[in-house]
């Protein structure tokens, strides 16, 4: 019996200087092509999700369990993270501010940082770790055990049935989780700063009110919506394109967290710049938004 011979390696990739350079260029070319293919596939996946989302709403029995898992079950861990981050911020900044006699400014710093940055980013990171990697593992297992094929074979569209409810759950619930993280962080900061370190409560809060505006709160919430969408899409895409076996499912789960986290950081920077520009475009003198 004949077997298909291996593709012969090209003669130009020999061990000379030119050969090694050519092989280096070929490696980079392959990397670029592979990345473009992956980006194209991810974009198509997003477009199909968007199309199914606007065609018809998923059935309630697929929506509510996902809303519960993303929202209700994530509350304790996000509240805990928020509280500790608020307290840690107070611990770290107190001594610096006390040296220059500005400890009453602590409220402004803690609350501003929480509402604009740490609340949304940490809520999203916790969601990516808790919900995103679980989604990727669940969908990956469904892919490996042919359950996704079975859905399609029975006339249900897997994107409509599996991805749309998860996407909607992340999109709608991450702002509420962010508010929770913000609130618990603010409470944690207050507890450590005012109750423990006995900073004057009036100045602590009047400084906070001066510094933190509704616009800052909105910036945090707008960012969180983008983070939620990114987490859902990255995790579902990883699950749907999972390689066979336990190793494949594990890799899908890890990749979903790492890629979600990178997306969160990139979006955070981009949206931070864009939203600040909006602010100064409408309020050049830096006045409060509301």
């Amino acid at each position: 019996m004949s077997t298909i011979p291996n593709t012969p390696t090209h003669d130009i990739f020999d061990n000379t200087y030119v050969g090694r350079l050519a092989s280096w260029i070929a490696d980079w070319g392959k990397l670029v092509i592979d990345s473009l293919i992956a980006f194209g596939a991810f974009s198509l996946f997003n477009l199909r999700t968007l199309r199914w989302m606007t065609t018809r709403l998923p059935r309630s029995e697929t929506i509510w369990p996902n809303f519960y898992r993303v929202g209700v079950s994530s509350l304790p861990v996000i509240a805990l993270t928020g509280t500790f981050i608020g307290m840690v911020l107070a611990v770290q900044s107190y001594f610096q501010f006390r040296q220059i006699g500005l400890e009453t400014r602590l409220g402004a710093v803690i609350n501003m940082t929480l509402v604009r940055e740490l609340g949304p980013v940490l809520a999203a990171t916790m969601l990516a770790g808790r919900v995103g990697s679980a989604m990727a593992a669940e969908l990956g297992t469904m892919r490996v055990t042919e359950q996704i094929d079975a859905l399609a074979a029975m006339g249900a569209n897997p994107i409509h049935y599996l991805v749309v409810p998860r996407f909607l759950a992340c999109l709608f619930l991450i702002p509420t989780l962010t508010v929770m993280a913000d609130f618990m962080g603010v409470a944690g900061g207050h507890f450590y700063g005012v109750t423990w370190l006995e900073i004057d409560i009036h100045h602590y809060w009047s400084n906070s009110i001066q510094a933190v505006t509704n616009f800052d709160l909105m910036v945090g919430l707008i960012k969180s919506v983008f983070f939620g969408a990114a987490i859902a899409m990255v995790s579902c895409y990883q699950g749907f394109n999972c390689d066979a076996g336990a190793e494949g499912v594990g890799r899908a789960s890890t990749n979903s967290f790492v890629q979600s986290f990178v997306m969160i950081l990139l979006l955070d920077l981009t949206l931070g710049i864009v939203l600040d520009n909006f602010y100064f475009m409408f309020y050049p003198d830096g006045a409060s938004f509301f």
């Binding site: 199909r48 065609t55 469904m142 055990t145 094929d149 079975a150 399609a152 074979a153």
Partner: protein, 285 residues
């Protein structure tokens, strides 16, 4: 009346596969497959592991897109349909997966009811009655309805998979290795269920298997595929197409080896690695 209808339909094949090739990541799995399956026929796809039997079956239902060529179901080119049209057409198919592929987050009852809930216009009482009727057809008691798939044995899961595939009364039912991993008695139960299903409804069936007992018991027609890397260039991938009687009398060495379960020249491949292997191979067929 039913037989007349069947004879009429036999004029045009229910499934027609035209020049279908499938490749995954530059590796060719199927090459220029042509096959016509008339309505009411039970076709068994034979071949060793990795020859593309399952891929061919998934191509028919549109789960795998062919790299070239097309598949026609009842005169419709299924590769030209959009997502929604394909979902609608798939109501006419039933697919029994190799490991049943039951949804493990749902109970057995919810699994079997899934296609009915997804598309049917039935109320919950009707659905419950139909689910119980289908489960009893495959020999499962009512008590399994509330169990999760993980609580059932492999044979029971496979029967639930069969009940789920049958619940919408499909026109074409496909079995992916229905007896793999089962004990001989349960294998025979599954064979019997395949035959009874066909007897009860005028359904067209495609069975992918490498179990010769199943093949000979259920088949009207057998088709054997060969992995592409074991063919000489230009040779067709379908190396046998005929009735069980023709299979018994075939002179093709590769088909005979498969039917009799002989390693033949494959032992040469082992010998290359391990020279202590026995030198003689059984050659009596």
């Amino acid at each position: 009346m039913m037989i007349e209808q069947l004879l009429d339909e036999q004029q045009q094949p229910l499934v027609e596969i035209k020049d279908v090739s499938v490749a995954f990541e530059n590796q060719n799995i199927l090459q220029d497959i042509n096959l016509k399956i008339p309505a009411g026929e039970t076709l068994v796809l034979l071949g060793e592991s990795g020859c593309g039997k399952t891929v061919l079956m998934k191509t028919i239902i549109g789960l795998v897109q062919p790299t070239s060529g097309s598949v026609f179901f009842d005169g419709q080119n299924i590769n030209a349909l959009n997502d929604q049209e394909l979902s609608y057409l798939r109501l006419r198919f039933g697919f029994v997966f190799q490991n049943a592929a039951l949804f493990d987050s749902m109970t057995i009852g919810q699994n079997v009811a899934f296609p009915l809930r997804q598309h049917g216009r039935f109320n919950s009482n009707q659905i419950r009655d139909m689910v119980i009727a289908r489960l009893s057809e495959v020999g499962l008691p009512d008590s399994v309805v509330h169990k999760k798939p993980a609580e059932l044995s492999g044979g029971m899961r496979k029967r639930v998979g069969l009940a789920r595939a049958l619940v919408m009364n499909p026109e074409l039912i496909m079995y992916d290795e229905p007896t793999t991993g089962l004990d001989p008695i349960m294998s025979d139960v599954i064979n019997e269920l395949i035959i009874r299903t066909r007897r009860r409804n005028p359904v067209t069936s495609i069975v992918v298997t490498h179990d010769m007992n199943t093949a000979c018991k259920v088949a009207d027609r057998l088709v054997m595929l060969m992995p592409l890397d074991r063919l000489s260039p230009g040779e067709p991938q379908i190396i046998f197409d005929g009735t069980p009687a023709e299979l018994d009398s075939t002179r093709d060495r590769r088909v005979r080896q498969f039917v009799n379960g002989e390693a033949g020249e494959r032992l040469m491949e082992l010998r290359g690695r391990n020279p202590v292997e026995p030198t003689e191979t059984s050659d009596n067929s």
